[in-house]
Symmetry: C2
Subunit: 383 residues, 2 copies
């Protein structure tokens, strides 16, 4: 279903030859209207890929008629030539669709620091345009995969309207978004300001709280396109909740498919003085390599949780911290709590609760364990 | 030579039975004077182990007659009982040496969140006192090892005076010091203010810039004791340089022995607008798991360097960044530079230069690659 679950959209995914192994590598998503409202959220990395620089500019107009996405190369750190290539890609899409390049977003993912093979990509755009279909959402989702083992899609139905989407990402998953490309579509009849508001509030509590390996990408892009084809304008709260639900579902799929991961870790920080404190503590725990190794080894090593909390500026007293792992309060008042042998860590899901005893705010961060497979995937070849 | 290279010191290292495997686990270093000046630097982790809380307090007096160190347990996150145990340990040392407990520092390393076996530790103190010797420095260095594969010592000779020391640490190596215990001794005749100044300026550019795995410990302690036994008072610059040289040497030994490491990575940030900028950028690169995996795979993946730089707040323009790996400028002006195939990465030493083109300041950070062995060491058992 993916990006074509909502009415008014067509999509395709084809193999343009950008990837040397011949796998699908080019996706096209087209908004056939009647509306072409859009919003976008991009990486906060200051080293931004050419397509991010381009698409940020395009989104200022609040309109998108098409999105073209490629895997097989990030077009990041490629200088003026890389930007020219992105521009040429948007122009090519505009030409074949009879649209304006200033309303075409571009997204790329793959290795940093190599130029895209434009002699393959541009003919690929023609091929992708010819393949556009109301049933093309799955193929588009497949074409944006890099090290992803599965493609990721999600759909939420409203009352007469739909929000659907696709995502890719399996490494460099970190806040400020991730090496992740996400395209969401809706046939709800909403304007770009509403899309922007709903998208930002959704990503803040979903993709921004997925932190697989602390590495922030140069290419992260999340786009939301509205066609208005349902002719229904839902209430804001209802619409925003649907967008959040799709983002949350896709974010969970990213974590479950993170490179080399054996455990999915949900870190719930409770009783924080502020939401910012809760997020800072959650991230610090999520990025602690020693803890991530311990979880891999099914060792409820709460000392490493406290050690991570101690590096933050959040409000807490060390002797009032409590930590539960899979429901067992292994640390109470900053010291030894319930018997750690009671913690059952055999399953893929691991739930850590860090109680700061400093307020009433809460945040949840998702991460993975650190495994030899992660090291292998990220050292055995360039990615 | 270690802590007994300087005149006026005796030391010992014995097996008290704290470690279940019977390896040495208790070290004692005694300053026989005539001076007992001392200074200390401790972890900046807000979750501090009981011995850190104790020793910080003791150091306020600027005097130490003895340091007792144990491996086999960190006595961190052990609540009021843990602090009582540290206090009892200092009292026991004072009793057997005929000294004042308020001038005895305590340092511990090992697993967080378990109480020390005081029924073994206190008799061990008596055994260690009986074994004190002017040649005991090596044994003391051996007794503080945890996952260290080798013990670490260093000595610098001045003109009629000496600075020597020992260190342990092989994981949780990160700024704000590391899971590291370091005791430095000198027979120079210097007061505690001078020791404090020399020690802080030395640790700031040595141990504080060793960042093996981004994990800051609860127990880091660096102590510097002066006996005055040489009856020589060196000039400050000369003395401070000797302290820095010993710290630098021990810091390098820590990096070379880091858990599971296959590569030692020297990250030199140049042309930064400020030293703080240079350190921030160096740390960000040092903590990038994807880059550390790439280095492990002997892949000169400069895109991951730029991606790490982009997450900082340092002054730079993305299109002016340059990166060299082992002497080859693989990234120029934020884009593709010299041929990455020219980079020879067969050797253990890897040198990354990040040129921010924003000023004249410089800093060097040391780290390691990320390997399957690191994951194994930190997941296969509690540490």
């Amino acid at each position: 279903m993916s990006v074509t679950a909502a009415k008014g959209f067509t999509a395709s995914g084809i193999a343009a030859g950008i990837k040397e192994n011949g796998n699908p590598d080019l996706a096209l998503v087209v908004n056939n209207g009647p509306r072409a409202a859009a919003a976008g959220v991009f990486t906060s990395n200051r080293v931004k890929a050419a397509p991010v620089l381009w698409s940020e500019q395009v989104l200022k107009g609040g309109r998108l008629t098409a999105v073209v996405l490629n895997s097989g190369g990030a077009n990041a750190c490629t200088g003026p030539k890389g930007f020219q290539d992105t521009h040429a890609t948007a122009e090519k899409v505009a030409e074949v669709l009879g649209q304006n390049a200033a309303e075409v977003a571009v997204a790329s993912t793959g290795l940093i620091g190599i130029l895209l093979p434009m002699d393959k990509l541009l003919p690929g755009v023609e091929q992708a345009a010819a393949a556009l279909s109301e049933h093309g959402g799955e193929k588009a989702a497949i074409a944006i995969k890099t090290t992803d083992t599965v493609h990721k899609t999600s759909v939420v139905q409203g009352d007469g309207w739909t929000v659907g989407g696709m995502a890719k990402g399996a490494g460099m998953l970190a806040p400020g978004l991730a090496t992740m490309l996400v395209v969401l579509t809706t046939d709800a009849d909403v304007d770009s300001d509403t899309l922007d508001r709903a998208l930002r509030s959704a990503t803040k509590v979903t993709f921004d709280r997925v932190d697989s390996d602390g590495c922030m990408s140069t290419n992260d892009t999340v786009l939301l396109l509205a066609s208005g084809a349902s002719e229904v304008t839902p209430g804001y709260a209802e619409f925003a909740e649907a967008v959040r639900a799709v983002c949350d579902d896709l974010g969970q799929q990213l974590i479950r498919d993170a490179e080399g991961a054996g455990k999915d870790i949900r870190i719930e920080v409770v009783n924080a003085a502020s939401e910012d404190d809760a997020v800072e503590v959650g991230r610090s725990i999520a990025r602690n390599n020693l803890l991530k190794c311990a979880i891999h080894g099914e060792d409820p090593n709460w000392g490493r949780v406290l050690s991570a909390i101690g590096t933050t500026s959040a409000a807490f007293e060390p002797d009032q911290l409590n930590v539960a792992i899979n429901g067992v309060w292994v640390c109470k008042n900053g010291s030894v709590g319930e018997d750690r042998d009671q913690v059952d860590m055999r399953y893929r899901e691991v739930h850590i609760v860090a109680d700061l005893a400093a307020g009433t705010e809460t945040a949840t961060i998702w991460t993975n364990d650190l495994t030899a497979e992660y090291v292998h995937e990220n050292s055995a070849y360039s990615s």
